[in-house]
Amino acid sequence: MEGKKVNVVELIEKVKELVKQTCYDLPKDVYECLKVSKEKESENTPKEVLDIMIKNADIARSESLPICQDTGFAIFFVELPENFSLEGSLEDILERIFESFKKQNKVSKKVLEILEKDRSYFKNYEALKNLVSKYTKKDINKYYEYFTFENYILSLENKPLLDIALEQATREGYIEGYLRKSIVCDPLFERKNTLDNTPCIIHTHFSKRKDVKIGFMPKGGGSENMSVLKMLKPADGVEGLKKFVIETVKNAGPNPCPPLIIGIGVGGNFDYAPTLAKKALLRPIGNRNKNPLYAKLEEELLEELNKLNIGPGGFGGKTTVLDVRIEYFPCHIATLPVAINIQCHAARYREITF
């Protein structure tokens, strides 16, 4: 049987465009929902705020500007056919990796000098690895593989080519697209910007598809900061879940840039519930859960949350949330994990298939 083959360079080119387009072009369902919501508002302020959000999407799309200055953490959702194979090798892309690091001044002076003179290193990973290992700092910096070209090259030894390609597409997309670089190399101590928005978070799954599907979500910090996971008691039930969701949105108030999309993950365990919540954010607006019990709960929460009068931008109004979506999974007899992932109105997500 002939397998599905994709060339690594082609993949980088496609994903790089996906990264830029996603940051410039608001999904149609969100755009249309903002328009419908504007009609539903009766007061001036929410109408005006929604109008600015609509105009913003128009300007961003036509002038290739980011919808929001926070162009987020790069998250990929990759679905591969079972017979997928990536054509090409690391050597096909080493030179473009170097060029990106060079642009952000992340190559040490000595290595830069050598590589500018002798480009043959890019045709042999082992040789390049040996070269950079001579110039890698042996101090604490060696743990920060995204901060220097030398550290990054050394880390590629154990990394699948698909992940390397997605990281390179992110790097090129963010640099060429004038998108903001918002990732720091260490969460607690160093907090130094990696300057190219890498690494990215990659969820890869095999599927029954015949083609490759790559979804991209640049997720902003303001709305992630207001997201919460709680281990409810099984006895808390539907009412407990509703109370938790309403309290979370109330506490967040204007901070996460309403109108929001609320992704809820119910069940699984401590780490799977947030994954379900994020997955819920990938569904289009108005796409209800197939299980009628959950579909009804989504509708009820949508109605309740829109009574909070937080409104567009947090300035009051009927539109506090654009949609509520739930994903569920079986769970342990003793648990009821509930994760709420909040998405702002700049709900950027886009998929490509090839």
């Binding site: 913003n56 929001c68 162009t71 998108l179 108030g253 901070n255 567009p312 931008g313 947090g314």
Partner: protein, 207 residues
């Protein structure tokens, strides 16, 4: 209502009012606030013998000086030398994306204000007349706004392409090494915002 920045007149506005800001404003966020405070502290320590280390305590300290010895407070404020003139200043909590060719600035929008709350009361006391950001403020920020008769403007988050079209000129005037967090002087035209906290200390629900 049109607001001319910097603001030297009394603000005749109330919570919920829409404002359009035209004039000169400054961007400053987390790191720039920290550095401005270090400079204020240095000068505070040479002016007063027991100037506090912490920005909130420094606010409480200067508030007392202002109540009990207004002339000493005023001469400290008058002598204060900072990269930006705080008197009447409008500070925008923002860090722009990279600037594409042919534009004065890249995508820009408000960041969440609460991270600047430790510094804001002191800055209001020293002359800042308005801040622009998004989200809730602390009680102390609201108190400072009330006693200085200033304001907090809520800008719309997530509309960076629209807001960058309101910026006509931009230049870095301090802390260039901070990249997106450097202090920039912006000339803005009809920059839209809403009064989230007015000079009487009244604020919008949820803010």
């Amino acid at each position: 209502m049109e607001i001319k920045a910097p603001i030297f007149d009394n603000l005749n506005i109330k919570k919920g009012d829409k404002v359009l800001i035209t004039g000169t404003i400054y961007t400053a966020r987390d790191a720039a606030h920290k550095r401005l405070f270090e400079e204020i502290k240095k000068q505070g320590k040479s002016f007063f013998k027991n100037f506090p280390e912490d920005p909130i305590e420094a606010y409480n300290f200067l508030k007392k000086v202002r109540e009990n010895d207004i002339s000493s407070f005023e001469s400290f404020v008058k002598d204060l030398k900072l990269p930006i003139n705080l008197k009447g200043a409008v500070i925008f909590y923002a860090g722009p994306a990279d600037t594409p060719p042919g534009r004065p600035i890249g995508a820009i929008g408000p960041t969440t204000s609460y991270r600047m709350d430790p510094f804001a009361p002191l800055f209001y006391l020293l002359g800042v007349k308005a801040t622009i950001g998004k989200g809730k403020r602390s009680e102390l920020v609201k108190e400072a706004i009330k006693i200085t008769k200033s304001a907090y403007f809520g800008a719309i988050g997530g509309v960076a392409a629209y807001l960058c079209s309101c910026v006509k000129e931009a230049k870095i005037i301090a802390y260039k090494d901070l990249g997106p967090e450097a202090i920039r002087e912006l000339k803005v035209e009809k920059f839209p915002a809403f009064v989230a906290c007015d000079p009487n200390g009244n604020y919008l629900n949820y803010w």
